[in-house]
């Protein structure tokens, strides 16, 4: 079988990258020195920015004329959604999805962007109240760069060496990636494939671990922590939601997207047609006992009488 050489591609991109860097330092030596003096690599400015935002060192650091959208929205937050949920009680499951959409729309900004801790907390509360799933923006101290971003369609992932799209249950037209996901094969051979592995590939997401501010520094720990980490992905426009696992990293920032979704995830979110991308909320699932099944949230099957809330969490 013939294909394009990834090695040759890498060399070409490397040469281009070096030429661009050299041209920059020749043309703008003062800027090159500026970044060097501050020990900042311009190429890694995204990670630098994530670090600043995470550390919260921006507060009051810069007085520019236009405030950020998230700052403007933070001030308009209220406790009203939480009070309203308390008032409606727990006995109207068929209305849960519509109510969830209505309430979340009141909290999130129009454009995707990082949410404030208060917005995240309110959304987590609403999700838990209406689905029974303990969704958390921060879990065990870990937090993605954003919980509100654009998700784009991904291909199937090979589950074992030699896996092909014809061996997958559905969405075969989506294709399969030529290489492994960021965490490798799900199992080492077809014989070892278990129902759990099949479900993980069906309902997987890609998240931008690469741009986490401390990814390189804490790589061994974070790589394990994120592997098959359970998340809840919610389409805030429709309320369609799916529980999935993190099984790949990406997409690259220059795609304009923040998350990737398997063909099944995109289908369940109602984002499998047209541009095959759209805004979603993505929260970790606090499920230490591994009781939350992967797959779509079926609001009509949720027994809300069993949903217990813990406002302090």
């Amino acid at each position: 079988m013939k294909g394009k050489s990834a090695q040759d591609l890498k060399e070409k991109i490397k040469s281009r990258h070096q030429a661009i860097r050299e041209k920059f330092s020749q043309k703008h030596p003062h800027a090159q020195s500026f970044f060097q003096d501050r020990r900042i690599e311009l190429g890694k400015i995204r990670q630098h920015s994530s670090k600043l935002l995470t550390a919260g060192t921006l507060a009051g650091a810069l007085l520019l004329n236009s405030p950020s959208p998230s700052t403007l929205l933070a001030s308009s937050l209220s406790e009203k959604p939480i009070k309203e949920i308390s008032e409606i009680g727990l006995d109207s499951p068929e209305e849960s999805r519509d109510f969830l959409v209505e309430q979340i729309k009141k909290i999130i900004p129009q454009m995707v962007c990082p949410l404030t801790p208060e917005q995240e907390k309110n959304i987590a509360f609403i999700i838990e109240k209406l689905t029974g799933i303990r969704a958390r923006a921060t879990l065990e101290g870990e937090h993605l760069n954003t919980c509100f971003g654009l998700i784009g369609a991904e291909q199937h992932l090979p589950r074992f060496p030699g896996d092909s799209v014809s061996l997958h249950d559905g969405f075969r037209r989506s294709g399969i990636t030529p290489g492994r996901g960021a965490w490798g094969y799900f199992v080492q051979s077809r014989e070892k494939l278990q129902p759990d592995d099949i479900q993980r590939e069906k309902y997987y997401v890609a998240v931008q671990t690469l741009y986490l501010p401390d990814w390189e520094k804490r790589l061994p720990y974070l790589r394990d922590w994120y592997k098959y980490r359970k998340v809840l992905v919610l389409n805030p426009q429709t309320g369609k939601a799916v529980v999935a696992v993190v099984a790949d990293s990406g997409p690259a920032a220059w795609t304009g997207k923040h998350f990737g979704g398997s063909p099944e995830v995109m289908y369940e979110l109602g984002l499998h047609k047209g541009p095959r991308k759209g805004p979603v909320l993505l929260f970790f699932v606090d499920d230490a006992e591994n009781k939350v099944p992967l797959g779509p949230i079926q609001y009509d099957k949720i027994d809300l009488s069993k949903v217990q809330m813990n406002e302090s969490s």
Binding site: K4, K14, S66, N145, G179, A252
Partner: protein, 112 residues
């Protein structure tokens, strides 16, 4: 998520599609290529900005940028000093995309 004030001006959908057909030897190799493209974008965008921004504003801009690279006010700062800066950056990004696509398409065919 906007980590950089110019993020909304960069979308390389075609590059993403072309790269998805490559069989990288490992996920790390794929990430490495993605990262080199990412870095190329930052150098080209910054060079483009500095090419058009009058020299007397360079230090102030760099200072603001390094302290808060995500801040949308940076674009306002540039717009006040450079006419059509958004369009200029978009064009620069488009030119880079063309060059990268050419590199990607010219990679050798081999047995895999």
């Amino acid at each position: 998520m906007s980590k950089l004030f110019y993020d909304h001006l960069i979308v390389f959908e075609e590059i993403e599609a072309k790269l998805s057909s490559y069989n990288f030897s490992s996920p790390d190799e794929k990430e490495e290529v993605h990262q080199m493209i990412e870095e190329s974008v930052h150098y080209r965008v910054m060079a483009c900005i500095l090419d058009h921004l009058p020299r007397e504003h360079h230090n102030q801009f760099l200072e603001l940028f390094h302290r808060s690279p995500h801040h949308p006010g940076l674009l306002t700062f540039l717009k006040d000093r450079v006419e059509n800066i958004e369009e200029i950056i978009k064009k620069e990004v488009k030119d880079l995309e063309k060059v990268l696509l050419k590199d990607i398409e010219s990679a050798k065919i081999k047995e895999i």
